[in-house]
């Protein structure tokens, strides 16, 4: 009879992942850079209203003004979100190693995969909260601008008809009433058009896609930090991959037409390995007149989920080999 005690098998536990995630969230929200980024982003979104004064052209005035606001808002969320995703995530593992806290955690019955997933989940929570904050302010700015444009255009259209009628004394009252009714209808149509141009559903879709892109950027950064020995390396390479991801469609074309071995090799790496981050930018579709259906947005989200799975699997494979 064998009396030697069998080691307890520790199964993967989501509860532990959640605990690590919450701790990570607290940890990253303590970083001052996060607040700087959030404040800058909020200021830029709020200031988007002022950029709209640069529009010109009478007919498309409201379309352009709303476009400027939407582009600036989505741009601010994209750029500051990416900075938060890279900077906050890149520090997670190095900080644990530097403070030696990772030894205490991994000495307990915690899998490395739980630790890694918890770190990612904490970073993801931060991004979700940030995008929600920025998105709420962004939608408010668009809403206020839409209200303002609708009220101004409605008022101007009717006032124009009334002042034109005031100069025409010999028009019978019935004809006057008809002209005013037509002006009111035109004003209502203009208001409906402005509301349609605001396109809240399209904005929400763009925010969802941006969030998925930021999660992917965070996952890539985390994966790099599992084997990187320096924080600078992780941040720089993550930023480069961010640009490469947006360049991916260009690389695909280059790959198809490249004649040199080096060119073919570089573009092949980007084409076959780097995710196409441009696929998550829905700003162009917002103005194409044919906003994407939710089903197509879901397809983009699944593309992001697929790459998240790939990246986190790679991160796990790298991290389990790492000597700590």
């Amino acid at each position: 009879m064998n009396d030697t005690p069998q080691p307890d098998v520790v199964y993967f536990n989501l509860g532990r992942v959640w605990t690590i995630a919450l701790n990570t969230l607290v940890e990253v929200t303590r970083q001052k850079v996060f607040y700087f980024m959030i404040v800058f982003a909020l200021l830029m979104i709020a200031a988007a209203n002022f950029f709209s004064i640069f529009t010109f052209g009478e007919e498309a005035q409201h379309t352009l003004q709303l476009k400027f606001i939407k582009d600036t808002g989505l741009g601010a969320i994209g750029i500051f979100g990416a900075i938060i995703a890279i900077v906050a995530t890149a520090q997670l593992l190095p900080a644990e190693l530097e403070n030696h806290t990772i030894y205490t955690i991994l000495a307990k019955p915690v899998h490395r995969s739980e630790f890694l997933l918890g770190k990612f989940a904490g970073s993801a929570l931060l991004l979700v909260i940030s995008v929600m904050f920025m998105g709420a302010l962004f939608l408010s700015v668009v809403f206020l601008k839409e209200r303002h444009l609708a009220a101004t255009n409605h008022h101007q259209t009717i006032e124009l008809a009334e002042s034109a009628l005031a100069n025409q004394k010999d028009i019978p009252p019935a004809a006057k009433e008809q002209i005013l009714t037509q002006a009111r209808q035109k004003a209502d149509q203009l208001v409906a058009d402005i509301h349609k141009t605001a396109g809240y559903s399209g904005i929400v879709k763009a925010l969802v896609a941006t969030l998925v892109k930021l999660l992917l950027v965070a996952a890539i950064t985390l994966m790099l930090s599992t084997f990187a020995t320096s924080l600078v390396f992780t941040v720089v390479v993550s930023a480069m991959l961010y640009f490469a991801g947006h360049l991916e469609p260009v690389a695909q074309r280059f790959y198809a037409g490249s004649q040199t071995v080096a060119g073919k090799l570089m573009s092949a790496i980007i084409t076959w390995v780097v995710p196409n981050l441009a696929a998550f930018d829905l700003a162009d579709d917002l103005f194409a007149g044919t906003p994407l259906a939710w089903l197509k947005v879901l397809k983009i989200v699944s593309y992001g989920a697929f790459y998240l799975l790939v990246t986190l699997t790679l991160a796990h494979l790298f991290f389990r080999q790492r000597e700590i």
Binding site: F54, L64, G75, I79, F243, V250, A279, V310, L314, R320
Partner: protein
């Protein structure tokens, strides 16, 4: 270690295998995405290094807006060539934004061409007129490129019609553009576009190409039957009255047989009124 390396290679291979069909499916959903691949050397030269970087960072729309603002500045300072260059870049960046094509071509064909025709620095009338034509042509080319990029949209066809009518004095080309717009328009503007196409077609036939007079009549007749014939005469508005007059005039000019006319002349009464 070797096992992990093998697993990493396997994961990457799996990702690469799934990536291509997934992305092809995404591109099929979004033609705009496929067009966005055109960040080429020409574009980089046009917009400069800083904006190229922003472009590569995925801020395409924002870069287009910044260039639009730059074009605004160039327009205010009457730097027409800079304005044109900025417009070219903006429309290249967001080819699906109708108002960029529309406003940019309008600025070239109307504002820049007018400035060229009244340029105080150029004393020779012939040169001023040539420059004016060149700017109008630049506006037309831009608009036609916009149409080529958005062949299913009606807006730019309508704008091309106005440009041909007002700046190139080609009512026949304008009529064809308006007819193309009607074919593509499903919104509330369709009523207006249908009439616009008719007016220009008739003008084309009367002033430039009499061979199209029958086509103009057939067009008005079909439009009247389809859209206006249901309304009783006592409820006719200005548009109804105008259209009916045009059709009657065309019927007279083409000598359409009475039996085929939409508005036959009233026949004299068969009974002779009794003498009082």
């Amino acid at each position: 270690m070797r096992r992990t390396a093998l697993l990493i290679v396997l994961v990457l291979a799996l990702a690469a295998a799934v990536k291509a069909p997934f992305e092809a499916s995404l591109a099929a959903d979004r033609p705009a995405l496929a067009r966005s691949a055109g960040v080429n050397i020409k574009m980089r030269e046009q917009i400069g290094q800083g904006l190229s970087l922003a472009l590569l960072g995925g801020f395409r729309a924002l870069v287009a807006d910044l260039l639009w603002i730059a074009a605004h500045g160039a327009w205010e300072e009457r730097r027409w060539f800079t304005m044109r260059q900025d417009f070219e870049a903006v429309t290249m960046l967001q080819p699906q934004a109708m108002f960029f094509w529309d406003l940019a071509s309008w600025h070239l064909a109307w504002n820049a061409s007018h400035a060229a025709s009244t340029d105080p620095a150029e004393p020779r009338l012939a040169v001023r007129l040539r420059n004016q034509r060149l700017w109008i042509q630049a506006g037309r080319e831009l608009l036609e490129r916009g149409i080529a990029n958005n062949p299913d949209r009606f807006e730019l066809y309508e704008k091309l019609g106005w440009m041909l009518k007002q700046k190139i004095e080609d009512p026949c080309g304008a009529a064809d553009a308006a007819l193309a717009a009607v074919k593509r328009c499903q919104s509330w503007q369709r009523d207006y576009l249908q009439r616009l196409a008719g007016y220009w077609l008739e003008e084309c036939a009367r002033e430039k190409n009499p061979a199209r007079l029958r086509e103009a009549y057939d067009y008005w007749r079909d439009l009247w039957r389809r859209e206006y014939s249901q309304r009783p005469r006592e409820h006719w508005d200005t548009i109804d009255k105008n259209l009916s007059k045009r059709i009657q005039k065309l019927e007279a000019d083409l000598a359409v047989p009475e039996s085929e006319r939409l508005f036959p002349k009233p026949q004299p009464s068969a009974t002779i009124p009794a003498k009082s």
